[in-house]
């Protein structure tokens, strides 16, 4: 063991501390609006629905909170590593400081406040945006105001395709998802076999499709647009190919589209089971 010197390098900690805090506040004041507004405005999933918009707001708030934290840690590392690096080859020890209860308490108070604020804000958004586009299961806890009048649309996942049923249009089933614009929609997501996940990206909707479970999502569409649909839970061989494009169309066009679908799929309509929130098909006859 080399003789450890008792001379403590790095004097003047107070001044360094003040300088660091000033730098931190200064950089944060510049960086936070940049990330929150410039980056935050363009953050996905966009404004395809009320829920998507609420997610963008959430992401902006999270960016606003995490930017000063990131600046703090990175600046601290950069500061400490340049200012407090050992100079010269001989071994010098730093001051034997073992803690500072004021800093510890301050840190505890600040982190706890931040965390509680984030949790409260997230909970508020959950209520405000009626579940914020996440699947809520058969009995949703977060309901939109006019949920009784929502349009029901069922998403049926199976290996490896989504099909859709419209109970309001005679229970017609189609391989395409078309939704009316500016409408509150209640999606019922279910599966016929394994777990899938229905992800309508631009609408900010994601809900696992579980066999035997009615996973409800509320979504209020904005103007007409198309949106991507992907399966977001590993479901077997063709998981990576389980994608599709849906459309949001004006209400009148939606009505004529459902009528056309009813005509197209009339032959198979007689064989469909009555509309239900879940289906557990009997094990079918075995082949061979």
């Amino acid at each position: 063991m080399a003789a450890s010197a008792t001379t403590h390098g790095g004097s003047g900690g107070q001044n360094y501390g003040r300088l660091f805090v000033i730098l931190w506040i200064g950089i944060s004041v510049v960086a936070t609006p940049l990330t929150t507004i410039v980056l935050g405005r363009n953050i996905p999933p966009g404004n395809g629905s009320t829920e998507a918009t609420s997610q963008v707001l959430d992401n902006q708030v999270l960016l606003a909170v995490s930017t000063p934290i990131a600046v703090f840690v990175l600046l601290f590392l950069g500061f400490a590593l340049t200012v407090f690096r050992a100079r010269g080859p001989e071994l010098v020890d730093g001051p034997p400081v073992r803690g500072d209860s004021r800093i510890q308490i301050l840190w505890l108070v600040v982190t706890t406040t931040t965390v509680l604020f984030l949790a409260a804000f997230g909970t508020f958004e959950l209520f405000d945006a009626a579940g914020a586009g996440a699947g809520q299961g058969p009995s949703p806890a977060f309901l939109p105001d006019k949920h009784a009048s929502a349009l029901d649309v069922q998403v049926i996942a199976q290996q490896w395709e989504f099909t859709y049923r419209y109970p309001g249009s005679g229970g017609v089933e189609t391989p395409h998802l078309v939704l009316p614009a500016h409408t509150l929609i209640r999606l019922h997501v279910t599966s016929l076999d394994v777990v899938h996940s229905f992800w309508a990206y631009e609408l900010g909707v994601k809900a696992d499709a579980n066999p035997g479970t009615d996973n409800v999502v509320y979504v209020t569409t904005n103007g007409p647009r198309s949106f991507h649909i992907r399966c977001a839970e590993l479901c077997g061989l063709w998981h990576g190919y389980m994608f599709d494009t849906g459309r949001v169309v004006p209400a009148a066009q939606f009505a004529s589209w459902t009528t056309a679908q009813q005509a197209t799929f009339k032959p198979v309509q007689q064989y469909l089971p009555p509309y239900a929130t879940t289906y557990l098909p009997d094990p079918q006859r075995r082949a061979g």
Partner: protein, 628 residues
């Protein structure tokens, strides 16, 4: 009867092949495999018509694997001591102290040998998992499929994830806690030396079992093994189940052993408030190991019954529920994430004082941070199920509990950063890896806050965003700490220096390419690319190619490390001084490499190991008086 259990007499010449050794173990494993295979077909061939339809007999596969593993362990000699006790021999702590390279390939109860066994054993499977990652990124160079058929791609994804999560769970506890903890606490061995060796050999058997999944057609579920896809999959799934169950058993025993050792084997004077922070990290991890891993073993047992005895725990059409699996899996799975993170925190906090030449700042806060994470990690698992359709009433609670966990995690940051403040920082390779840990874990932690927030999680859940997040915490956290530990303790383990220049090249290529690989994945995830999908939107090809090429550089940086290891340990062999870092910790006061019995006399501890800035000799080496 002799009054002590004596290991079988040493044989010479070719007869050495007859005893308990790796060759016998492999032969017995193959024998066990075929016995199980034939027994499985014999049992079920006539009675279960079901199997004849599908050209696959899961009972037979399970029996084959289980008997192979039992045969393997018996061949290594794990049956000898219990059998001797049954025959009436008195208990014995005689260690198997064979010399030479052979002890690294056998049942050895020297904790230092087990640590080195772990280091290289884990290294092999880490390499296999890494090669899988390279192949995955190769496939994703193009938006549509090119190199591997869809099913094989899923197998690659599953192999990578399962291998890394399973084997790397013991990446710190296996090599470093086994090696260092007894030295740090002034003990001559672990509490249960045979169990210590058993955990290692079970883990090796497990990794081999998982690798053989390709002989049964692979498995499609990824590392989570979600039901009912798990029930539906072909026989390659059985390898996954046996692998993870064995890993769970190994982790449980490892945790048990660590807790018993740290609680009962501390040297006199080593009070809880003097325990090195690394030992606290190990202790909190071990608590999670002991309590979480059995849940995994149980849920995989249920999956095994579903696949063999047709129990339908997870099949809704027969009264089961996939949610049962998801809940049980994540009850294990979330603590598992902290099993990977906590030892990294322990290592970083242990190493910073050495290279900042200052005491650990806020020792009690750091300890309470580690214990706080241990406690809170039990209350957060449903954040993995935010979009699953599970009862939504509890969502605010899980959002809160998940965000609360950033408070104790923040303690680690505060203590680490404040330890650097006004220090005399020396830029050694281990310190560089610790500093990178702060950078990576900061990004991992902040992205975790996005994922814990339900509205934000809705878009990022199951996308490359969450994948980037956990690679920042696990690869950026655990693996960087793993390398810090290697560069720090290898001179103690082998008594040889690692080349510093190669170490720095390794660090900088790894750090830059790691960030270049995973930072763009946050963007890719936000732009609608789901995990584990073999296709992606053509517009994302540039970013994906960027990531793939960075990943190849990341892979190459590992070769620099392997090169350093081979160059320094096999060719240059420059002896390391006993205490190259001038650490005040107990293990560095011993000669390198450490003698078999560690301490001639059990030391008496008079302070903690962070007394930098004091002129006194290291407080931990007060020679023992009457204690032996």
């Amino acid at each position: 009867m002799t009054d002590e259990f004596v290991p079988p007499r040493k044989r010479t010449g070719w007869r050495r092949l007859l005893g308990y050794n790796l060759l016998t173990a492999l032969i017995l494993a193959v024998v066990g495999y075929y016995v199980g295979w034939i027994a499985g077909h014999h049992v079920t061939g006539k009675s279960v018509a079901y199997f004849s339809d599908i050209d696959q007999n899961d009972i037979s596969v399970f029996l084959a694997y289980i008997l192979a593993v039992i045969g393997f362990l018996l061949g290594l000699g794990f049956g000898a001591y219990p059998f001797a006790r049954v025959r009436g021999y008195p208990p014995s702590l005689r260690e198997k102290e064979s010399e030479g390279i052979g002890r690294y390939f056998s049942l050895c109860t020297d904790h230092k040998v087990v640590g080195i066994q772990y280091l290289f054993g884990i290294g092999v499977f880490f390499f296999i998992g890494g090669v899988n990652a390279m192949l995955i990124r190769f496939e994703l160079l193009r938006p549509s499929m090119q190199a591997f058929p869809a099913g094989q791609y899923l197998t690659l994804v599953g192999l990578h994830g399962t291998m890394m999560m399973g084997i790397m769970s013991s990446a710190i506890l296996g090599p470093f806690a086994n090696y260092v903890v007894p030295l740090m606490i002034g003990a001559r061995r672990m509490a249960f030396p045979r169990i210590e060796s058993l955990t290692f050999w079970i883990l090796m058997a497990a990794g081999t079992v998982l690798a053989t999944t390709v002989f049964f057609g692979g498995f499609p579920t990824g590392w989570t093994g979600y039901q009912p896809l798990n029930d539906q999959a072909n026989a390659g799934m059985d390898s996954y189940i046996v692998f993870f169950a064995l890993v769970g058993i190994s982790m449980t025993l490892l945790g048990l052993n660590m807790i018993a050792t740290i609680v009962t084997m501390r040297a006199p004077g080593l009070t809880w408030s003097r325990l090195p922070i690394f030992c606290w990290g190990v202790l909190s991890t071990a608590i999670l190991n002991l309590l979480a891993a059995p849940v995994l073993v149980a849920v995989l047992g249920m999956a095994m019954l579903d696949r063999t005895a047709q129990t339908s725990f997870f099949l809704p059409s027969a009264g089961g529920s996939p949610y049962l699996y998801e809940n049980l899996f994540w009850v294990f799975g979330h603590p598992e994430v902290y099993i990977l993170a906590l030892p990294g925190m322990g290592i970083v906090l242990e190493l910073l004082p050495v290279f900042a030449r200052k005491p650990l700042w806020g020792y009690r806060l750091a300890v309470s941070g580690l214990l706080g994470v241990t406690l809170l990690s039990w209350l957060v698992w449903q954040h993995h199920l935010f979009v699953s359709g599970i009862n939504s009433d509890l969502r605010p609670f899980y959002m809160l509990s998940t965000e609360l966990i950033s408070i104790p995690t923040g303690f680690t940051f505060l203590c680490g950063l404040m330890t650097l403040w006004r220090g005399q920082i020396r830029y050694t390779v281990p310190l560089l890896f610790c500093l990178a840990w702060f950078f990576n874990f900061l990004i991992g932690g902040l992205s975790g806050v996005f994922l814990s927030d339900v509205p934000s999680d809705t878009t990022t859940h199951g996308s490359f965003f969450s994948m980037a997040h956990f690679h920042y915490t696990i690869m950026g956290g655990l693996v960087f700490a793993f390398f810090a530990a290697i560069y720090f303790w290898v001179p103690k383990m082998f008594g040889l220096q690692l080349n510093e220049r190669l170490g720095k090249i390794h660090f900088w290529t790894m750090f830059i390419s790691f960030n270049s690989t995973f930072a763009p994945l946050f963007v890719i995830g936000f732009l609608d690319q789901p995990r584990r999908a073999v296709t992606y939107a053509p517009s994302l090809q540039f970013l994906n190619d960027w990531v793939s090429i960075s990943a190849f550089v990341l892979g190459a940086s590992m070769l620099v490390f392997v090169g350093n290891l081979v160059y320094s340990l096999l060719f240059v062999r420059l002896p390391a001084p006993a205490n190259p870092w001038d650490s005040r910790s107990l293990e560095w006061q011993l000669p390198s490499p450490v003698p078999v019995h560690n301490f001639d006399r059990i030391p008496v501890i008079a302070g903690d190991p962070y007394d930098y800035g004091s002129a006194a000799p290291p407080v931990a080496v007060v020679p023992a008086g009457g204690v032996s």
